[in-house]
Every structure is written in structure tokens, then in C-alpha cells.
Amino acid sequence: MSAWETVIGLEIHAQLATQSKIFSGSATTYGAPPNAQANLVDLGYPGVLPVLNAAAVRMAVKLGLAIGARIATHSVFARKNYFYPDLPKGYQISQYELPIVANGAIDIVLEDGQHKRIGVTRAHLEEDAGKSLHEGLPGVTGIDLNRAGTPLVEIVSEPDMRSAREAVAYMKKVHTLVRYLEICDGNMQEGSFRCDANVSVRKIGATKLGTRAEIKNLNSFRFIERAINYEVARQIDLLESGGTVVQETRLYDPDKGETRSMRSKEEANDYRYFPDPDLLPVELDEAFIAAVRATLPELPDQKAARLGTQYALSPYDAGVLTASRELADYYEEVVAAAPQDPKLAANWVMGELAAALNRDGLELSAGKMPAARLAQLLQRVSDQTISGKIAKEVFEAMWADGSGADAVIAAKGLRQITDSSAIEKAIDEVMARNPGQLADYRAGKDKLFGFFVGQVMKATGGKANPAQLNELLRKKLSG
């Protein structure tokens, strides 16, 4: 294995979150009945013409600005010609020689905490095709053109990634970014965010790239990793057994966990790209670009850096909390309402809350645990009304029926015991019940201290303030 280096480049297709299609007024809502969202332009009727949706242009520019790319003041739509039943015009309108965005970069964090910069060659606007339907249609193929004309931005990376893990980290970073920018809903199941991976291997130290295979239409982070790892192993096996890799398009079969050939370079279409004469070049001026720049939100990297400084969080915590704008906003809302301990808040948001959401398959946006409610619970930990351990019990009760922290604490009588005399009384009783252990402890068996802590906690129903308990117990045990 170690003799080979993996080289990966990704082409990510992100569906832009516009109200209408890129060249027609049809809606882009997902899940409508077949062809309910396809008008004459989408159907490619004789005589119809495309008209560019300005919102799609603004979104592409927003992306370009967020990755420090060059925004083209002059970009051109081109026709990519090929026949397919779900491609109504017989060509796809895309951008070819002059894309709207070029030369950007995206930073990812590797497992060892190192940063790596992945080059973005270009990002261009294009329309999506429709889809062919086979299920339940014996002997014929159905065509659903609802998706035809949906705006996409295709983000093409440099071949800068060296492992499947890096590819996934990059893909996740782009996923985070497009949702921060609110230009894509990132829904991978519905195909709003998907990628093609160009994978090749070469001998370590080689400067020339190996022959690549392109794995099409990967729509989950898990599949990307598995597909690339499979493909890398396949290519290495092939080369080590004296074979050669052929340039081809491959499909990943998630059921079998393997990639298989779709078509080779020889069978590939000659797309006969040429500038679309129905559309004028897109001319953008500096004022337009500046206006889009003014709409940029705080970006993930900026936000992570700020959170790290402002709340004294580790880079890891800051990274996790800024994985989505929504999560970061939630965290900051919690901290604003429970400002005593931002680290505690981070632990809770990334720990108990994330686990509960995950367990129930819920999104943060479902509003099951509003920030103010979690903040109240954390307040009770900070002001020592309850211990951290009891807080978990309280959290589960809050999660189950949506009640507030104080209500749960009151109803279950979980308020922490901070009355010294009550704790002392419990200690006295435990000592009285366990004379043997007491004698051993006093004879020097220090580790029995834990036994006494446990016994007193048990006697107080876990509610004794731990710090107070420790102090009082130590005093009493030493006589």
C-alpha cells in the first residue's frame, strides 16, 4: 500500500436554493408529482428561449467571494450537446470556457489537526437534467422533468486530496459553507448536494498523475469514503498485477460496496460545446460584486476562530460547534443566557444534546430543546442547585416531556443538598454503619475514601453537593 499515493479531485454539484429555475419561471420545490413543475421552457418546446435567473448568479458570486475566488466580470453560457430522454433540448446549458468563478480555495482540517488548503479550480452555473423513471413502468421509461432546469453550481477542485478522508473532509467543508451562505439546502438524500470523484494513484514521488477514473453521483459522505477506498484498492491491485487503469466513468454500487464501469473514454460523448446564442454573456460590474459581498455572513472559519477566542474553546470544539450556522447560533444563544461557563455549554451542546437528537433522529431545527431551556439547566449546574450528574437526569426528563429545568428539579426533589448539617448527619450515619471500613481507613487504607463518598451519595439520593461532601467527609473521617 505504502508505495502508492492517492490523488483525488472532486466535482461537487450543489443545487441552488432559488425560488424558480435557472432559465424559466417554474418552481423548484422537491417532491411535486412528475412534470407538475415543468413549463414549456423546461420541456424544450419549439420556439421557447431561456432567460437567466439573477438570483442564481448572485448565489454563485456569493460562493466565489466566500472561497476567495476571482469573480468573472464576463462569463458565458455554453451548450453541452448530447442526446438523452431526460435532457429535453438535446443540450444542457452550462458554462465551459468562461465560468463565473475561478481560482478559489477551501481549508480543511486533517485528523492530526493540521490545516490543508484545497484549490478550487472553478465553479460554474448550469441547469440540471430531468430524470428517467423505470419503477412500475414495465416496458417503457417515464420521464419526469421537474428537476430539468434546476440551477446548479458545479464546484471543481484541484486534484489536491490524498485520501478518502481528506475528500470527505473537503466535501463536508463545502457542505457547511453552502449552507452558511444559504445558497443550497445541502439535502443529500434529495440530491441537492452530490459529487463526482476523480480518483487516480501513482507511485510515491512520481510527479505525473496516474490515469483517473471518475466515480459518478455520490450522494452521502459514507459512500464517498467507501467508493474512493474501493477504487483506490482496485487501481493499486490492477497496477501491481501488471495491468493498466483505463480512463472511464464508474458508478458506485452501495449495496455491493464496489464501483463498476459505466463507459470508457472511447465511448464518451463529444459534447460539442459552443457559446449559447440564446443567452447574452453575463456581465457583472464591481458594484454588483460589492453588493453581494455585503451580504456575506460570518463564514465557518471566521466563526470558529471567534468562538475559540471569545469563549476559550479548543479548536476542536469551535470546529464542531460551527459545523452549521444553526448549531453555532444555538450555542451562542445558550451561552448568552447562561454565561458563567461557556465550556460547560459547549460540552452539553456537543454531548447530551447531540446524542439525544441523534438518538431520536431529530434536527436541531425541530425545536425540541430551545436554547433558553438548556441554558436554564446549565444555570442550575453553575449555581450548584444540582450537580452535573443530576443534570443529566434532569435533561432526560426535560427531553421527555418538554418541561423546564426548575420544574423537573422541584417535582423530583433533585435540588442539591448544600446544608452542611444535613450532609454531616448523613456522614455520621454512614460511619456508624461501617465501623470496619472506618477502622481500615484510619489505619491508612486511603482508597476507602471513595467508598464513603459513594455511601453518603447513596444515602442522600445523589443530591449532596460533591465538593461540600468531600470536604466534610475528609474532616470527619480523619476524626
Binding site: 418546446y45 419549439p46 437567466l52 438535446g90 460539442r272
Partner: protein, 487 residues
């Protein structure tokens, strides 16, 4: 009964507005004429008599109520590549023999909005590809001046219909001369406006960067009126230009004193028939008497316009016609074995030879390895031709020359040799490549066949071109001549 067919579009519009006669009367008379001459001329693909009479009746009511637009009640015809809701739009092709458009082209909508009554859809070369109207699936159109001759193309049906006085005006389209060349060959007036002046929405595309809708009429004044009603920005067409449409009728009468007319050296070449050239020279003398000055100019890259055109136009056509795949509309072959069989046979059966020739040429010039040598180079030369025109218009106001090298030719004379056919557009293609407004007006006869004079103007100078054409028609009567048997 009044001989409505001898009235011009302008006269009919005025007479209807003055309620001297009704639209139903005019419509009935012209429909009768359309039917009577259909077998001899084959100018129409569809005649919509019922719809026309209903529209005429409605127009009369509007006029009776004191309402109406500039063309209310005036019968016209549409070239059969303008989509008309509910009436089939064939493009002269078997491919669209069964195609009924679910929407109206912007031009159709605008002319209806102005009150025009549509009598039907006119014959044309298949998908507007041809210069003789012989590539139509519905058979050739015949020239009213001599039925053994072609009417020109691709708007041959519209031209023959206007020349034979079946309608006072018809819509047409011009990609390489398809309005002006049939206008010249049929002895009528044909105006192609600036690219972007008339919406292409709903006009079935041949070559998108060259196609432009326009009019065929019997006079420049009629062209001015009809064009004014159909021109203008359309949000559905990104290449239509958002500048106001001047009142072309209002500026028709301006004197030509001092008008600088450029004579293109390249238009008076050895390909120009000597008798044709004589008619053109005579017309230029008329312009001199009107106060215009003649200035020799040269457009060095213009001789390359035919080869440039026959790269650019087929390239765009090969892509534009890809949508005719048998999947959603148009011809689909019987019992396709599989997808490729359906594509192959649907397109093979649906398209005629000339369309196939151009689709193949266009596919070739866009192919990997050939794109730079053909398409890209052609676009570069096209830019040079455009610059030549821009430079020429720095020293002249209009360019005047022949529309075609010869008068109308015999049916079948050039069908065996596409190159000879293509050369018929040698003088008209330049204006398409540069997107310029151009008109053809009758300027005399050669062996009893009409000859066309072409006037080309700078971008958006339609008013000046129409003004120059109208001034000529005020002092000549070539445009008032009717073919024998059609007066």
C-alpha cells in the same frame, strides 16, 4: 364587390378604421382568393378560415365601438414557424406535421394585439433552410410571376402570398436572406430588422444568432406599419433589445437630401447578372435625383460571408434541432426497438435532406478537433465582417446594392447543387452576420421578372432604411406592379 386584394395594408387599415368596409368582407374576399390560388401556388400550409372569420367579426365589433389598434381587422398570414396556439406549426417539416403549439409566439401575440386577423400559416423551406422553398415537406411554392420558377426562400409562401395579393402582408424570418431574397424574386418589399428588434420567442429556431423576424408587404410604408406593431423588447427573449420602438410610419416622408449612400464594391462583382446590375444602377440614379450622394466603399471581409455563414448557421442548427427527438412532441417512428432506434428513425424520417445536410455539417464543425478550425475561425471572421460594416457606416448612412445575383430561377434548377443554391444568398448574408437592418424593394424587371434592390442600414436604423425605401417607391411604380392574373 371592392377589389380588396389590390389595396395595401395601410389602405385596408385606414378603410376599416373609417368603416368604409368591414373586416368580415375583406377577410371573406381574401380567404376566397387564398383558396382559389392554393393549388397553383401552394403558398399556404394551413388556412384557418373559421378562426379568421371569427376574428374578423370581433374586429368589426371593436371598430363599431370606436376601439381598435393600428391593424384592427386587417388580414395577414404567418410564416409557419411562428407558433400559434391551437393551430399547427409545421416549419415545413414532416417532423412537426402533427405539432400544435400550446402557446403563441410573441410576434403572433403582438400582431393580434394590434388587431390583425390571421388567415393562415404560409409554406416555407423546411425549418427555414433553403433559398427556393423546394425543401418544404408540403411541396414547393410557385412564383406568381412565372409558376415554373421558384419564389425564393425560405419565406417563399409568405412572399408568394403577398405577391399574388392573397394577403397584404405576412410575417417572415430572415437568417441569411430568407425575407429579402424571396421579396426580390417575387417583386415585393421585404424588411429584416436589426437582430434583437423583434422577439424570437415562439419563432422556431434555425440559427439563433442570425434568425430575425420581419415582414413581407407590398410597400415600405406597409412594412413600416406592420413592423412598428411587432417590434419591441420581450422579457422572454434575452437577445431582444430594450430600446423603444420609434414610429417608423412617422418618419417615412423625410427628404433624402444629403443622404450618403455607400456602394459596396463587393456587391458589384462578377457573380452579379449584367441585366440585374443595370436595374440597380438605374435605381441609384433615381436616388441621386432625390438628393442622395453615392460613395464607393469596400468591405474587404464580406466575400467570406457565405463560408462563414455555412459554418455558423449549421452549427447552431445542429444544436437547435436536437430537441426534435420523438420524446415529447413531433414525429415519432413506429414501434421503436430501443432508445437509439427511436432517435435514429424519428429524426431520419422526420427531417428532409437539406436539414440533415446542415445538421451533419454543424455537428462536424463543432466536433472535438474541428471546432477551432471551423466554428471559432468563422466567428472571428464574422467579427471582422461586423467591424467592416461599422467602419463603412462611419462614412455612409446606408449601403445600397442588389439583393440577389439573378432574378428567380427555375424549379429544380439548383436542387442538385447545394453550393450554387447557397450562393444565391451572397448579398444578403452579410446583414445577418452583422445583425443589421436591411430591406429589399422592387427596382425593375429583367425578362419580365422582378429585380430587388437592397438597402442596409446601421444597427437600429430601421427608420432610415424604411425612409430611403419609401422615398424610392414614391417616385417609382415597380412595387405597384402585379403578376399577370393576380391584379
Amino acid at each position: 364587390m371592392a377589389d380588396f386584394h389590390n389595396s395595401t395594408l395601410t389602405e385596408l387599415a385606414a378603410g376599416l378604421r373609417a368603416r368604409k368596409f368591414s373586416s368580415v368582407e375583406v377577410t371573406r374576399a381574401l380567404l376566397e382568393r387564398v383558396t382559389r390560388h392554393q393549388s397553383a401556388l401552394n403558398a399556404f400550409i394551413s388556412v384557418t378560415a373559421d378562426e379568421a372569420l371569427a376574428a374578423a367579426h370581433a374586429a368589426d365589433q371593436t371598430l363599431a365601438g370606436g376601439g381598435g389598434g393600428a391593424l384592427t381587422g386587417v388580414p395577414i398570414a404567418h410564416k409557419d414557424l411562428f407558433c400559434t396556439q391551437g393551430v399547427r406549426t409545421t416549419c415545413g417539416s414532416r417532423m412537426l406535421d402533427n405539432f400544435v403549439s400550446p402557446y403563441d409566439a410573441t410576434v403572433v401575440k403582438k400582431l393580434r394585439g394590434a388587431g390583425a386577423v390571421t388567415l393562415g400559416k404560409t409554406n416555407m423551406d423546411e425549418f427555414a433552410m433553403g433559398s427556393s422553398n423546394e425543401t418544404s415537406y408540403y411541396g414547393p411554392v410557385r412564383n406568381p410571376w412565372n409558376r415554373e420558377l421558384v419564389p425564393g426562400g425560405s419565406s417563399g409562401g409568405s412572399a408568394a402570398a403577398v405577391a399574388a395579393r392573397l394577403v397584404p402582408g405576412a410575417t417572415a424570418t430572415d437568417t441569411g436572406g430568407s425575407i429579402r431574397q424571396p421579396a426580390a424574386l417575387c417583386g415585393i418589399t421585404g424588411m429584416k430588422p436589426t437582430y434583437g428588434r423583434v422577439s424570437r420567442y415562439g419563432m422556431v429556431a434555425f440559427a439563433s444568432s442570425l434568425d430575425q423576424g420581419g415582414v413581407l408587404t407590398r410597400s415600405a410604408a406597409d412594412a413600416a406599419l406592420m413592423l412598428r406593431e411587432m417590434a419591441g423588447f420581450d422579457a422572454n427573449d434575452s437577445t431582444s433589445v430594450d430600446t423603444p420602438v420609434p414610429d417608423y410610419v412617422a418618419t417615412l416622408e423625410q427628404p433624402l437630401t444629403g443622404l450618403r449612400i455607400g456602394l459596396l464594391r463587393e456587391f458589384f462583382d462578377k457573380g452579379l447578372d449584367a441585366d440585374n446590375e443595370r436595374r440597380i444602377r438605374e435605381a441609384l440614379r433615381v436616388y441621386e435625383t432625390l438628393g442622395a450622394r453615392l460613395i464607393d466603399v469596400s468591405l474587404p471581409h464580406l466575400p467570406m460571408s457565405v463560408p462563414v455563414y455555412y459554418v455558423v448557421a449549421p452549427a447552431e442548427c445542429s444544436s437547435n434541432l436536437a430537441r426534435f427527438d420523438g420524446v415529447r412532441f413531433g414525429h415519432r417512428c413506429e414501434n421503436p426497438r430501443d432508445l437509439n432506434d427511436m432517435y435514429r428513425r424519428s429524426r431520419g424520417e422526420g427531417f428532409g435532406a437539406e436539414v440533415k445536410r446542415r445538421v451533419m455539417t454543424g455537428t462536424y464543425v463543432l466536433s472535438a478537433g474541428y471546432y477551432d478550425a471551423y466554428y471559432l475561425k468563422a466567428q472571428r471572421v464574422r467579427a471582422l465582417i461586423n467591424e467592416d460594416f461599422v467602419r463603412a457606416f462611419e462614412s455612409v448612412d446606408v449601403l445600397i446594392g442588389p439583393t440577389t445575383p439573378t432574378p428567380a430561377f427555375a424549379l429544380g434548377a439548383k436542387t442538385a447543387d447545394p453550393i450554387t443554391m447557397y450562393l444565391n444568398d451572397i448579398y444578403t448574408i452579410g446583414a445577418n452576420l452583422a445583425g443589421l437592418p436591411a430591406i429589399s424593394v422592387p427596382c425593375g424587371f429583367v425578362q419580365d421578372l422582378p429585380v430587388g434592390l437592397q438597402i442596409v442600414g446601421p444597427h437600429f436604423a430601421e427608420a432610415r432604411v424604411l425612409n430611403a425605401a419609401h422615398a424610392f417607391q414614391k417616385v417609382t411604380d415597380w412595387h405597384t406592379r402585379a403578376p399577370a392574373g393576380y391584379a
